[in-house]
Symmetry: C2
Subunit: 224 residues, 2 copies
DNA sequence: CAAGCGGTGTACCGTACGGTACGGTTCCCG
DNA sequence: CGGGAACCGTACCGTACGGTACACCGCTTG
């Protein structure tokens, strides 16, 4: 199923990167309706023929935009050594801040809107691409962070994926969907550091292993 | 007739409801690309002229679909009297199950995809309509539920909206966005009752007022 | 210098959609 | 019974988009 591009490195030339940048700008400014091949060619001073030569078709161009953007937002690496408790909490807060910042970004929102709008139709691969190129790296970073925290004795959980989803929910809540729908959240919700700190506090109250929580997190119901 | 809409009563005739039903089916089956006026007219055995007479233009039709669908999913009313602790927990679990069920529904996903895809363009009102007609009633139900729980001494929180957002995040996590992107969650995440129960357990560990949590929830950082 | 390659700009084609107009039919109401 | 309103089915129009073809240009390279 994923034999589409098994070993094709999605590396683009500088010229193509420029074109992708222009396309992203157009998408952010005008939505998917403004993202026409003619419009991109005009704004990027290139020919439509070059667009099709480079990216195949419109969907290939869209996919290239996603991979290009996600390559720019490569998540920072995980922790090297075993951090202390406060340092580990700081790592979690940093992750939360990064997550909120990325998800609130104009380009991220525009690309997610594009992929979501395209999903639901038969054979829409943009959604899967966003999932794979955009979200999986973030999840991988969080998972390694969580497991490092558990190994260092700061966290208690059984299923890493479950803990990650809980962390994600506490950080993001319904903010992402509301932003995708065009809502303008109140200023308190825009305060990324405060929101991140609160979310991590809550997460540590659920899965922290330091204080009295050591008895058992109780966060898992094993339905199988 | 049972609920008096503030400004414009979005009441449609039975025939128009049938048309909206067909349109929703087309949208669910084929995505927004399959939702053409000609297609709706053909599938609903009506004329395009009637569509425009009834709904104005395509956007009016889309808006009618949203209000029609949300009117069908009117959230159940809140609790009447002061429930006991276990009964209140049951109310929370029921709310969580309803929320997960609604958000995972085909029609809800399709309409959210439509509105999200349309958002980002200048003057896109569908997103705001989904927010208003679809999410606000759910939030209102949750808020009244939360405040009833606090009044009954089962919950401790200062800001209702904040508590609601935490509850929402614990219940929904990133499931909604993943579904919107076309992801197929693993079967464990499809187990609505188990997920709801876990989420409510976690929420009560953060905001429950019964046991040792009575000392202080600590869930609020007041930045201002 | 000449050949060739990659790229630009533009013109072009087919298609598909939103929206409108029109003839024919049904059904209600006076 | 007759008039008219609502509506269906379809044909039609303008537009705009994806995708292709082509002529021209500049730069590299032998």
């Amino acid at each position: 199923m994923d034999q589409v591009a098994p070993a094709a490195p999605p590396e683009f030339s500088a010229r193509q990167n420029d074109v992708l940048e222009v396309a992203l700008r157009l998408l952010v400014e005008g939505g998917d309706k403004a993202l026409t091949t003619a419009g991109i060619a005009r704004a990027a001073n290139c020919s439509k023929e070059s667009l099709y030569k480079w990216f195949g078709d419109r969907d290939g161009l869209l996919a290239a935009m996603i991979t290009y953007q996600s390559s720019k937002v490569r998540a920072a690496a995980g922790p090297g050594a075993r951090p202390g408790r406060e340092a580990f909490r700081g790592l979690l807060v940093t992750f939360a801040e990064d997550l909120l910042t990325v998800l609130s970004g104009d380009v991220s929102l525009a690309l997610n809107r594009l992929a979501i709008g395209e999903a639901g139709r038969t054979e829409a691969r943009l959604g899967g691409l966003v999932l794979k190129a955009g979200r999986r790296p973030i999840e991988a970073r969080a998972r390694s962070l969580l497991e490092a925290g558990r190994a260092a004795g700061h966290l208690a959980f059984t299923d890493t994926g479950d803990a990650y989803h809980t962390l994600y929910g506490l950080i993001v809540r319904d903010l992402h969907v509301r932003l995708l729908l065009g809502d303008s959240p109140d200023p308190a919700e825009r305060n990324v550091p405060a929101r991140a700190a609160t979310a991590i506090d809550q997460f540590l109250r659920l899965h922290g292993a330091d204080e009295k929580n050591a008895k058992g997190p109780g966060g898992d119901t094993g339905p199988a």
